[in-house]
């Protein structure tokens, strides 16, 4: 009933004219596991271009999509996967992809990844809310099966926006009663069997189309106001709630929505429906009550409550006390939860916090359904601070769920403050924005109810525009500017008028209870008469203030002038005052009855005799609590009456007899008087007894009535709690069946043990581990023979119980070779007690094998990578290394960690670094990298050339994951290449020089030859010498060319017998410069040839002697001096031509080329030639040319 006013916050009027092209959107929410039911429903639904169906699943992952496709195929329905940004189109059946949260924005799908676990994403609510806000009225929300509250908020939003909400009625028909429906079903416009759903949707769509057409023309017709007023009147007659003063636009919107639901085209048609079906009035009434409230509405007030009220509420309360709050008109629960947050936050600062109970009531059961689920749209972030959002809410998709802790503090119940008895003994009543809807008369009934319901000093929290200033006796504002009031204790009992209580009692003072059985008029009359004749009296308290006068007391009262007073001494007749004071004092001091007789008092000029009797009231032991003062008319004045004297004797006789009679009569009278007096006394005391008894009864009665009210309150509370419990039981049953299914379907073997290690539960999969059957429950686990080798199970379980730390272990089944991952966790009950342990066995056999294979493979790879000479590394794109092989560290001296990132660049030659980075930059497109650079060697502190290659490793989508690269040393290769280049050039040079020499020899030989034959022989000889010299030179790296070797070679070539008599030969080992070999060998060849042809080797007496010695010559090194001597020659040979060329070589070429000093003498039969050849380095600084 609250918050009718806040409906003004509802979105603007639907833009009917924009709708022409948009299809009606039917969103189907379901759990995901009910594939078959979903397929059956989808197959039935209309398939036209004016309807678009979106299936939103709570657990999208649980859906067997393939099966669903299969089931739908015969009905020519295909699932379209909703794509990001795709416009929603008619005739399609959409299904958002898994792991995505779908919403609707401007008629297009929006998808984003979910952040929560499946089932906690609020997928249905998220989509429903976005759809309702995006599409306004042309939406239908349908929830199939159990969604655990997901969809409740969505349905409420759809209804608010003017859409239709449907639910599938349970087929067994048991829970069809509206009152029993929970969650989404409670909110649905229709809960129908599945078969009736398509017709209902078709009807709605037809009606929607008609309404759309009609909307433009008659929406604002003149008679509209009148008809709406008529509707309000019917509503008032049926429900007792008057909506005449409601805002027209809001009212019309709600009415139009109902018109859509009941398929009424015009207001008139709807009015007929209303009149015909009382139930429809109820539905309209409920819809009108959908209110919009918010968290911490009026933050300033809540701040005040937080700082000033909440601490006081907790004052003086301990752990065993309870703090009770009643939130009226809680609607969808925001206010109740807001208060719950404030209380919890404060309670957290206390060491011993009392139990907090919040009774939240509303008359709208459907709002309560939303409140019970406690799920709210994302917009609450505007009202709730981020800290509170994080602490008190769980995010599920685009929705927020209140924490269980808060939820359990609040008891939601359907309750009307006007009709039902209130809760009682409350510390605070929050009744915000509810009083403003009650008229003065209702308010005057409700506010005392609050007063009754609150404990002494309790608080009343009202809405911004509400006040209880008219009840200043009952409530006082805590602070002027805030709407928090405190209960005032009144001595008089405030009659809280309970709706159920007949309550005809009126206020009365406890001192003088009135008889409550005035049914006998005669008795009353008699009493009145008796009172008239009884003495007048006054009852006064101990201060002599009058408490009560009897009716007849007026005569004795004669108040003096001045300030009015209740003091009897001031009120009583002046003539009696003095005596009365004395008597009262005496009665007070002596505490007994005091009589004063015969007092004279003047009344209207006549003297009157008065007897005063003052009787203290009380038990006679203590000082009296008051007095009763009796004013009796005294005996007649003695002189006021004349006696008439008789004269006759008979008369005397008569007089005597009369006297006697009189005496007798007097005596009788006296005795009767005495009797009467005693009876009177008795009656008086009886009367007093009755009075006190009556008093007691009266209080007992009141007590009883209070008890009854309290009992009713308690009863109401119990009913509420009971309803809540029933709801919980239902939830629990669901959870239980979910759990059972989970346990049975899971492949993870699980055993639950209690604190004594007895089996309390297990899953079917455990059969692989323990041979457990149902009858083994509550038997110690020690009795079970385990199939796996796990002796330590009990020790481990006890350790977990002791330390509460999780134990993980891997065990094996020796028979099958299966491996299991065992995990033992403490079993924590909901209230966090340790009730044993949970042992799970996860079959990890394939994983273990795969891991082993992987490990081996990795080992091989690592061995390979670390064994090859290349430097191996891994990198991210851009050349950020993630790993380098030990070879890198060995070579560069740079640690593995140091090389990571771009650290490796330090080992690169500074000139090559930029090229490296460019290569990396270019690599990302090609996927390969190939370059050469110099890398620093730690061992010899130089840079060496490396060839670096890298290839990108790509994932299945072709994205580069990482780079694997090697750097191969190519320094020696490069050096060899360089050397080779040098060698080739050198070879060319030498070859050319050789040819030049050959050319020169040829031309010289030609000049000196007389015939071609001669030329040929001489030329061949010389080329042979040249060739031999070359072959010596070629081997010179391994065997240095010695002078002896050269001589032997040339002499052998001419057939000289070196061991024979004709040749003597000898000298020290002399290694020749390579540059000297060629020219020297040519010269020696000429000498040897001459000796062979013309010299010592030709004559019998000829003798050749070749000796050499090394002669040092100072700093410049040394000379080798060769002495070639031929003896016993034929004189004729001296002029031979053959010597010409040889002589030229010896005398000119050797000095020229080798800086040698030579002599050549031919005298008679002897030839002597000396060659002094420098051995120093002087001539050949560069050696080898």
């Amino acid at each position: 009933m609250n918050d009718e006013a806040s409906t003004t916050a509802v979105a603007a009027e639907p833009r009917l004219e924009d709708r022409a092209a948009t299809p009606v959107i039917l969103a189907v929410g379901a759990s995901g596991a009910e594939t078959e039911a979903l397929a059956r429903l989808l197959a039935m639904l209309p398939n036209g271009p004016d309807l678009s169906i979106v299936v939103v699943l709570r657990d999208r992952e649980a859906l067997d999509e393939h099966r669903l496709q299969e089931l739908l195929a015969p009905h020519s329905r295909t699932l379209v996967t909703a794509a990001e940004g795709a416009p929603i189109q008619g005739g399609r059946l959409y299904l958002p992809p898994p792991g995505m949260l779908a919403t609707l924005e401007e008629g297009r799908f929006r998808l984003r990844p979910t952040e929560q676990q499946p089932g906690e994403r609020g997928t249905i609510d998220t989509f429903f809310v976005s759809m309702a806000q995006d599409q306004d009225g042309n939406t239908i929300g349908l929830v199939l099966g159990e969604t655990d509250g997901d969809g409740t908020l969505g349905m409420s939003t759809i209804k608010e926006a003017g859409g239709l909400t449907l639910a599938i009625a349970p087929t067994n028909g048991a829970a069809q009663e509206h009152g029993e429906a929970v969650g989404t079903r409670a909110l649905a416009d229709y809960a129908l069997p599945m078969e009736q759903i398509p017709d209902r949707i078709a009807l709605y769509m037809r009606h929607f189309a008609r309404l759309r057409e009609a909307a433009a023309s008659d929406a604002r017709s003149a008679g509209e106001l009148e008809r709406l007023a008529h509707v309000a009147t019917i509503l008032r007659n049926h429900t007792g709630h008057d909506f005449h003063g409601y805002k027209r636009a809001t009212f019309l919107r709600r009415v139009q929505r109902r018109m859509q639901v009941v398929q009424a085209d015009t207001l008139d048609a709807y009015i007929q429906t209303l009149q015909a079906h009382a139930e429809e009035s109820r539905n309209l009434f409920n819809d009108l009550l959908i209110g919009v409230t918010q968290f911490f509405r009026d933050p300033r007030e809540f701040e005040f409550v937080q700082t000033h009220v909440v601490p006081r509420l907790f004052e003086g309360k301990g752990r065993s006390d309870s703090l009770r709050i009643w939130v009226l008109g809680c609607s969808t629960g925001e206010e109740a939860y807001s208060l719950a947050i404030l209380l919890r936050e404060y309670a957290a600062t206390l060491t011993a916090a009392p139990t907090i109970q919040i009774f939240a009531s509303d008359i709208d059961s459907r709002a309560l359904a939303v409140a019970r689920v406690g799920r709210y749209p994302q917009s609450i972030v505007d009202d709730v601070s981020p800290e509170r959002l994080a602490r008190w809410f769980t995010r599920e998709g685009d929705t927020y769920c209140v924490a269980k802790e808060l939820r359990e503090m609040c008891v939601f119940s359907q309750h009307s403050v006007v009709k039902d008895p209130p809760f009682s003994r409350l510390d605070m009543v929050s009744c915000r924005n509810l009083l403003i809807y009650l008229d003065a008369e209702l308010q005057s009934r409700v506010v005392p109810v609050f007063h009754f319901a609150l404990k002494p000093g309790g608080y009343l929290f009202l809405g911004n525009s509400e006040n209880v200033s008219r009840y200043a006796r009952l409530f006082v504002p805590l602070e002027r500017n805030f709407r928090v009031f405190q209960k005032i204790e009144t001595s008089e009992r405030v009659r809280a008028e309970f709706p159920f209580a007949p309550s005809t009692r009126s206020n009365g003072s406890p001192e003088l209870p009135r008889p409550r059985t005035p049914n006998q008029g005669l008795v009353r009359l008699g009493e009145r008469v008796a009172e008239r004749h009884a003495p007048a009296y006054a009852i006064i308290d101990r201060h002599f203030d009058v408490v009560h006068f009897s009716a007849q007391a007026g005569r004795f009262i004669h108040p003096g002038g001045g300030t009015p007073s209740l003091n009897l001494l001031n009120l009583v007749h002046r003539d009696l005052r003095l005596d009365l004071r004395g008597a009262l004092n005496r009665a007070a001091s002596e505490n007994r009855v005091v009589r004063v007789d015969g007092l004279q008092m003047e009344v209207c000029g006549d003297p009157v005799t008065v007897d005063l009797v003052i009787e203290p009231a009380g038990d006679g032991m203590q000082a009296p609590a008051g007095y009763v003062v009796l004013f009796k008319d005294g005996t007649a004045m003695p002189g006021g009456e004349a006696l008439v004297a008789g004269s006759t004797a008979s008369r005397d006789e008569h007089v005597r007899s009369l006297d006697a009679e009189l005496r007798t009569t007097r005596e009788r009278l006296q005795s009767m008087i005495e009797e009467l007096e005693s009876t009177n006394e008795e009656l008086k005391s009886s009367n007093e007894e009755y009075q006190s008894l009556n008093e007691e009864l009266q209080s007992a009665n009141e007590e009883l009535e209070t008890s009854k009210e309290e009992l009713q309150s308690v009863n109401e509370e119990v009913t509420t709690v009971n309803g809540e419990l029933a709801h919980r039981v239902q939830e629990l049953a669901h959870a239980n069946s979910d759990l059972k299914n989970l346990l049975e379907s899971t492949q993870i073997a699980t055993v639950f043990l209690d604190n004594e290690l007895r089996v309390t539960n297990f899953t079917p999969a455990v059969a692989d581990i323990f041979p457990l059957v149902e009858s083994d429950l509550h038997r110690p686990i020690a009795d079970m023979k385990s199939r796996v080798h796990y002796e330590e199970l009990q020790d481990d379980a006890r350790r977990v119980l002791r330390t509460l730390a999780v134990i993980d272990r891997e065990v094996g089944n020796p028979q099958t070779g299966a491996r299991y991952m065992v995990r033992i966790l403490p079993y924590r009950s909901i209230d966090n007690f340790i009730g044993g342990v949970v042992v799970t066995f996860t079959d990890v056999t394939p994983r273990v094998r795969a891991e082993r294979a992987l490990r081996e493979s990795e080992q091989r790879l690592r061995t390979l990578m670390e064994g090859i000479p290349q430097l191996v590394w891994r990198a991210q794109s851009g050349g950020h290394w993630t790993w380098s092989s030990p070879q890198w560290t060995t070579y560069t001296g740079q640690g593995e960690a140091e090389s990571r990132g771009l650290g490796w660049l330090k080992a690169i030659h500074p000139d090559d670094r930029e090229a490296c980075m460019q290569a990396w930059a270019a690599s990302s497109s090609s996927g390969t990298m190939d370059m050469e650079q110099r890398i620093h060697s730690a061992a010899d502190n130089t840079y060496r050339w490396f060839h670096t290659r890298s290839t990108a490793l790509r994932d299945e989508r072709g994205e580069i994951v990482e780079w694997l690269g090697t750097s191969t040393e190519i320094d020696s290769l490069r050096r060899m290449q360089d050397e080779q280049g040098v060698l080739v050039a050198e070879l060319q040079h030498r070859t050319r020089n050789l040819i030049t020499v050959v050319q020169a020899i040829a031309s010289q030989t030609l000049q000196r030859s007389t015939s071609l034959e001669e030329f040929r022989d001489a030329f061949n000889d010389r080329l042979g010498a040249l060739s031999r010299a070359q072959s010596l030179l070629c081997r010179s790296d391994k065997a240095p060319v010695t002078l002896e070797a050269l001589l032997r070679m040339e002499l052998s070539a001419v057939g000289a017998d070196l061991g024979g008599e004709k040749v003597s030969f000898g000298g020290p080992d002399v290694v020749l410069r390579k540059s000297a070999v060629q020219t020297l060998s040519l010269a020696l060849h000429e000498l040897a040839t001459n000796a062979r042809k013309y010299g010592a080797l030709t004559t019998p007496a000829g003798h050749l002697r070749v000796t050499w010695e090394v002669v040092p010559d100072g700093d410049e090194g040394s000379h080798v001096v060769l002495d070639w001597r031929e003896d016993g020659l034929q004189p004729s040979t001296t002029g031979s031509t053959g010597g010409g060329y040889g002589r030229m070589l010896i005398e000119r070429a050797l000095p020229y080329n080798l800086d040698a000093r030579t002599t050549y003498e031919l005298v008679d039969t002897a030839l002597r030639c000396t060659i002094a050849l420098p051995l120093g380095a002087k001539l050949a600084p560069h050696g080898e040319t």
Partner: protein, 120 residues
């Protein structure tokens, strides 16, 4: 074959480290009537010869003289405006750019072409 004495009166410097080749060149030049300065196989000697003469009509210059490079001689010649010809067993690529216009003969030399260059 009787030589054409077409180089009478010309004074030619021969710088060549291989005696046989130098000897052949000298023979050839002298056959044609030229006056040969040298031959020499050292840079110092060649520079001394250039320094010591008043007239020089041309020069044949081996680039590598037992490892000693003869560009210093070439510079001395170029400075005096004396035409000369390189002879080398290496590629022409070893010749600095400043001697780009100088004729260069690869060994083995074709004596006639060398002489033709020297006559020019």
């Amino acid at each position: 074959m009787p030589a054409v004495r077409d180089m009478v009166g010309r004074r030619i410097l021969v710088v060549e480290d291989e005696f046989l080749l130098a000897y052949a060149l000298v023979d050839m030049l002298e056959d044609r009537g030229a006056e040969v300065l040298g031959p020499t196989m050292s840079v110092d000697q060649a520079l001394g010869l250039i320094e010591g003469t008043t007239r020089l009509d041309g020069a044949l210059l081996d680039i590598n003289l037992h490892g000693e490079i003869s560009f210093a001689v070439a510079d001395a010649l170029a400075e005096r405006g004396i035409p000369f010809t390189f002879a080398t067993g290496y590629d022409e690529s070893v010749i600095p750019a400043r001697f780009a216009d100088v004729p260069c003969h690869q060994k083995p030399l074709d004596p006639h072409r060398v002489l033709a260059d020297l006559i020019r």
